[in-house]
């Protein structure tokens, strides 16, 4: 461990959860079949829901535009399969809240062919053209945040970007989607990097890979086109190395200011799968209709990496992958930051990087003890917050103090503090609640 820390760049603090990637890291991406009914929510991203441009009963082709962006903080939606629009109605979302969604009934034997659109030519496009094409393609951060990529790439007035970081760290346990994309879609990634360099004006790109994927780093280095101003760099295996602020610190030694954005230190970071999608879709003017996810965890029989149509109901996906009798907890994303599902009837969306299922024997509730000041959380927090103190203040309901004195709003909920807490205090859960309350109160003022 110490040798790894010395030889590879990283950030201070963090944790080392078990990787649990061996089951799926070497399994090639497989195409997932179409479900009998698909549910495409109009809001799969942070921002305003898209506006439907189809009507009930209409037949749509795979790849056809279903909904257009409503303003700048919004992206387009495309049909994941050739289908009939059954209805546009409320469907359960991950948070348990009902949101508007387009229900599609795919035609039997719907082909994998995708209709082409207006290509975005790399040579002639301006940065604005590329951002618009990314928005029209419905691209959002595929790492899990689902933040509209074109908004992220928009360089604020008065700022300039010198480095583009392509984030292939994938530090969440179990997930191997970025890994497989980097093995199988290197051409798409390099094309995506070209679009991104042009869109942001960055002088160079760094493709960052965690040291548990050295094979990928070597392969990417070999395949790197000579004229592409990019390097492949390896960072230490540590969680949350893939967090934007931690990655920028590790690669460039720059600290994104508290409350600031990567552009404040002249950097923009884009997830590697997002980059690959940009490289794959923009030259053909297509939109996102599918994404790569890892289906894994001890309660899954056919573990693997799948290219799955957006809108596939989770129940269908789980039944296809084969689930254990004793399935008791399913979460979208990795075990550190993923969200547990309230029901199996919600669809896979653009932000779903995987789903992991545990059996009931793995989810036995751990007894909660009082905080004993062990300082494990203080040593784990990558942002140097004091989770112990924040937890005590949350218990006392002192939310304003948490925000004003202890930088609550900097917390990005990586889960390191809860992971190491020997008292099994649900710290992150308390911080989430506190953040929501503080934001609501501040918005009301």
């Amino acid at each position: 461990m110490f040798r790894a820390l010395r030889s590879q760049r990283s950030f201070a603090h963090g944790v080392h959860p078990p990787q649990a990637k061996d089951d799926t890291r070497d399994l090639p991406i497989k195409q997932f079949p179409f479900a009998p009914v698909m549910i495409v929510p109009l809001s799969q991203h942070i921002g305003k829901p898209a506006l439907p441009v189809v009507r009930e009963g209409q037949e749509v082709e795979r790849g056809q535009l279903l909904a257009r962006p409503d303003g700048f903080m919004s992206v387009a939606m495309h049909a994941p399969a050739s289908a009939v629009v059954q209805r546009i109605a409320l469907a359960p979302g991950i948070s348990g809240k009902m949101t508007q969604a387009i229900f599609l009934k795919p035609f039997p034997g719907s082909s994998q062919e995708v209709s082409e659109g207006e290509p975005c030519e790399l040579s002639s496009a301006t940065p604005e053209d590329i951002l618009l094409a990314i928005q029209q393609a419905g691209i959002v951060g595929l790492g899990g945040a689902a933040f509209p990529t074109h908004v992220k790439l928009k360089v604020p007035a008065g700022k300039s970007i010198d480095t583009l970081i392509i984030n292939g760290v994938e530090c969440e346990p179990y997930l191997t989607t970025d890994h497989r994309v980097m093995v199988e879609q290197q051409g798409d990634i390099f094309t995506g990097v070209r679009y991104l360099l042009k869109a942001t004006g960055a002088k160079g790109a760094i493709i960052a890979v965690e040291a548990n994927k050295l094979d990928v780093a070597a392969a990417l280095r070999d395949a790197l086109p000579a004229d592409l101003p990019a390097t492949v760099q390896v960072v230490a295996v540590k969680y949350p190395q893939g967090a934007e602020k931690m990655l920028i610190q590790a690669l460039l030694g720059r600290q994104v200011p508290s409350g600031g954005l990567p552009s404040d230190v002249d950097v923009v970071t884009v997830n590697v799968a997002t980059t690959a999608e940009i490289g794959r879709l923009l030259p053909h003017g297509r939109g996102i209709q599918e994404r790569v996810i890892t289906i894994g965890g001890p309660a899954i029989r056919k573990k693997g990496n799948y290219r799955i149509p957006i809108g596939t109901p989770l129940r269908f996906a789980l039944e296809y992958a084969g689930m254990d009798e004793h399935l008791s907890r399913v979460f979208l994303g990795g075990p550190m930051m993923g969200q547990a599902l309230p029901s199996l009837d919600i669809p896979i969306t653009k932000g779903t990087s995987g789903f992991i299922a545990f059996t009931d024997s793995q989810t036995a509730a751990l007894p909660e003890y009082p905080c004993i000041h062990c300082a494990y959380c203080v040593e784990a927090c990558p942002l140097f917050l004091n989770p112990s103190q924040l937890g005590l203040l949350a218990r006392a309901g002192q939310y304003e103090r948490m925000a004003d004195e202890y930088h609550l709003l900097d917390c990005f909920e990586c889960g390191s503090c809860s992971y190491v807490c020997p008292a099994h205090i649900p710290l992150v859960q308390r911080f989430r609640a506190a953040k929501t309350l503080v934001r609501k109160r501040r918005a009301a003022v």
Binding site: Q249, M336, Y369, D410, V420, H424
Partner: protein
């Protein structure tokens, strides 16, 4: 498929946790203390075994009964009160009347732990509060020592051990003054080798510096003890006494003697490192350790008593929350700003 009903657990992230729980940490501290307790019994015999036993039982019983009284689930299974009992017993003179040992255990757990809200909320180390109570209530009994390695120590008990409650204890003729008392009152210096090996007189568990250090190293290696606290305490005491001894060798003892004598090693390794009552940041722990070291030297040099570790740690416990609010980690991305 559809008729099979499933219950899905909804739980917020993270969905995995690392191994050690509070009870595991506490149990390991008990493991680290067991060799120290074993040596105490070996060197002071039956009396030490009874004193430590009564101390442990009184602490555990107090916590259990108070939890029952408060109609709350008993917390004795988290092992923390076992540590309190062991530590408290190890700080007592081996020939202490047993009823006094029981009283101190009750006071320490009831007043310093339970009244503050139980584990995690105690401002002071309960074991030391129990001992401080005894020191105030029965100063003579707390400074009456028996010699180590007495011949009949496994066969006979000192007369004082079985003293009836509130009767004045009677001590056998032989007394074993502690190295600190010998230095303070008789100007006699004990050999450092004897201090390391525990060949001297003193409180039951404070004599063998090497075993205590070994326990500390074990816990520090398992990240269950912040080594910065004992390191800061011992370094401070060594530095201050080295300077004082250099200036005036006849008034002040040499550094080796200061570091390895009395309750300093036990206090620095096992008492000051009580997670609940010590600061949370590394920098805070160093400040806290230095403070304890300075206080120990001040009390030992200029106080009326030969030993000052207990009061030094209790005083530092009191300022520990203030150290935490003064010394905070610099939040990521706030360099150069406030």
């Amino acid at each position: 498929m559809s008729e099979r009903r499933r219950t899905l657990e909804i739980h917020t992230s993270p969905h995995i946790a690392s191994g050690a729980g509070v009870d595991v940490i506490m149990r390991n501290v008990v493991y680290a203390l067991l060799p120290v307790a074993a040596f105490a019994i070996y060197s002071f015999g039956l009396a030490a075994a009874l004193t430590i036993g009564v101390a442990v039982v009184s602490c555990i019983a107090t916590e259990h009964l108070l939890c029952r009284l408060a109609a709350a689930p008993s917390t004795v299974r988290d092992w923390s009160v076992t540590i309190t009992g062991l530590l408290y017993g190890l700080t007592l003179p081996p020939a202490l009347p047993l009823w006094m040992a029981a009283c101190g255990g009750f006071i320490g757990v009831a007043m310093a732990k339970f009244l503050f809200g139980g584990l995690g909320y105690n401002a002071f180390n309960p074991a030391l509060v129990g001992r401080a109570f005894l020191q105030a209530a029965f100063p003579a009994a707390l400074t009456s020592w028996t010699p180590a390695f007495a011949d009949e120590r496994f066969l006979t008990l000192p007369a004082s051990t079985l003293t009836l409650p509130f009767a004045a204890p009677v001590y056998d003729g032989v007394s074993g003054a502690t190295p600190l008392a010998l230095f303070k009152f008789e100007d006699r210096l004990t050999d450092t080798g004897d201090l390391l090996l525990g060949l001297t007189s003193g409180s039951a568990g404070e004599t063998c510096a090497l075993l205590i250090l070994a326990g500390g190293v074990y816990l520090a290696a398992r990240r269950m003890l912040n080594w910065r606290i004992p390191a800061a305490i011992l370094a401070t005491v060594a530095l201050v006494s080295w300077a004082a001894h250099g200036l005036s060798p006849q008034d002040y003892p040499p550094a080796g003697f200061m570091v390895f004598s009395g309750g300093l090693m036990l206090g620095a390794v096992f008492m000051a490192t009580d997670m609940v009552a010590s600061p949370i940041t590394h920098a805070g722990c160093v400040i806290y350790g230095v403070l304890i070291g300075v206080l120990v030297c001040m009390i030992r040099f200029w106080g009326g008593m030969p030993e000052g570790v207990m009061y030094a740690i209790l005083l530092a416990n009191a300022v520990s929350p203030h150290i935490d609010s003064l010394v905070r980690p610099r939040v990521f991305g706030t360099r150069g700003t406030q």
